[in-house]
Symmetry: C2
Subunit: 305 residues, 2 copies
């Protein structure tokens, strides 16, 4: 099953030539999600050949414009392109007001249903789940209520070794073994451990933007395969990072190191940095496996034993 993140925007606050405001597309198996929706997100999706139609859920971290000003346009285009499938939007309280005001004077009647849910911001909470994954909020510390999102595969099933099974095994028994239960068959006990391989690891992706540096994040993202953490500033601009409730590249690296994540992506770069290498190098001094979350880059989390 695929587990792939595509970066649509890497820029903080304002666009820079070649850099767009925050948005990421997440594809997990047959399901597609969008995280944040800065202005021109729909242009970026178009540019990268990603269809709007298959996006089922949109997660908005907070109500600063660079994270949601692209939403009214995206919803409008979905409508014009005759979407009928419901769309689920998980955002901070107040997002409904913005959307209602945006459409009020245009006499827009949507062909599809929007289900809008307020993100819990005080404590981590599961806000979405399907058969394969859960999405949980990560409370962040910013100038307005803000949450990150943790995408995590559910515990996977034991993997049957077909040649070790007796023939004629009923379907229910087959499913029980996959769940890790021993079964009785023709008067004998078959232990699941004898006929299965252990489940594959459950993969995970954590998105943390925007936030002041906070060690409280470490336990929430501990051991994830891939962590996106904002790195708006270099550490020499720490004071600016503190007053604006943002994180430095060095601090992002520290969090990745202490949380023992697989890989760190840094993004949400201040427009003051023309060459992003300096941020990458700074983060790498703390955590070597860092990459820049730049526009158009795709990051796949591979299934492993």
């Amino acid at each position: 099953m695929s587990f792939e993140i595509t970066i649509l925007g890497s820029s903080a606050a304002v666009p820079v030539k070649g850099r767009h405001m925050t948005s990421q597309h997440v594809r997990i198996g047959n399901h597609q999600f969008l995280i944040d929706c800065g202005e021109a997100t729909q242009h970026q999706l178009l540019e990268m050949g990603i269809s709007l139609h298959k996006i089922e859920h949109i997660f908005i971290s907070h109500l600063h414009g660079d994270h949601f000003f692209g939403l009214p346009g995206l919803l409008s285009t979905m409508n014009i392109q005759r979407r009928t499938a419901p769309l689920y939007i998980h955002g901070p309280r107040g997002l409904d007001e913005v959307l209602l005001a945006s459409f009020k004077h245009s006499n827009t009647e949507l062909n599809y249903k929007i289900c809008l849910y307020d993100n819990p911001t005080m404590f981590p909470d599961v806000i979405f789940e399907n058969d394969h994954i859960t999405v949980e909020t990560i409370p962040l510390i910013h100038r307005v209520p803000c949450t990150g999102f943790l995408f995590r595969e559910k515990k996977k099933q034991y993997r049957i070794i077909p040649e070790k099974l007796p023939s004629g095994l009923p379907f229910d028994a087959f499913r029980a073994l996959k769940r890790g239960e021993d079964i009785e068959f023709q008067g004998e006990t078959i232990q699941f451990k004898d006929v299965t391989l252990p489940p594959r690891r459950s993969r995970s992706y954590a998105f943390c933007s925007d936030t002041k540096f906070s060690r409280s994040v470490i336990s929430k993202v501990y051991g994830v395969d891939l962590l996106y953490h904002e790195s708006t500033f270099m550490h020499r601009h720490l004071e600016r990072a503190n007053t604006t409730f943002h994180t430095t590249a060095l601090q992002a690296g520290q969090i990745a190191k202490e949380a023992k994540v697989g890989k760190l992506l840094i993004g949400h770069f201040s427009a003051r940095y023309g060459d992003l290498k300096v941020l990458l190098e700074e983060s790498k001094t703390e955590f070597e496996n860092t990459e820049l979350a730049k526009e158009g880059r795709k990051f796949s989390i591979i299934e492993r034993d």
Copy 2:
């Protein structure tokens, strides 16, 4: 004095690869204006190297998203870039609601003042003037209240022929001649006609989007140097144009011909047309001097006698 229109977006309703939603930048002498502000207008300005800071007035034709969803982001970026000069926005009633809702939850306090004026939509009216130009609304027929905008230079002054003037002429007399008044000097009458050339022609630009085909526009834009008229559809899609209150390329050409304009720009193209030549050719069957209002193109109106 320069009089230059730069096209930022040519697309109707939704973006198409390489085509953005409606916005135009107008530069007249030292003054800069924006007409409409579809999503990603600020990206287009950045791309074309046009500074946001010098824009003094923004004119919004109507409250369909493809004409104003870029406004909250633009205003926000102006703020982040420390604008202090007031900004004047002329838009349909209701725009204030959208802007207030967009900023309400972000705790944004603007460093600069926004002066918001409701466009009169029933009758043409001058909504802005300075020493050199007026901007007048053009009532249009669309699914929501909508106006075009007519930029017109005021009547210019007579041009002094220096070698025909006696020396020692006081400044007041000089100014009177430029206004086309005869003067007395050292007991003699100097007729302005003898010492001046006639004023240069006053230039004009009319912007008409979105609208159903309507002959009532002809008298409003009669004789303008440059007319931008929406041409969302080809004439074979006339029925669709009528139901959605848009104009065909053929009809835009007819209006240009009957209004005896200097040049016609067509734009606001439906996403269904990949190759825009077909629209250009159709309009040219009625009015030869038609051009496509495509992204990045600049149209200058030259001063003439």
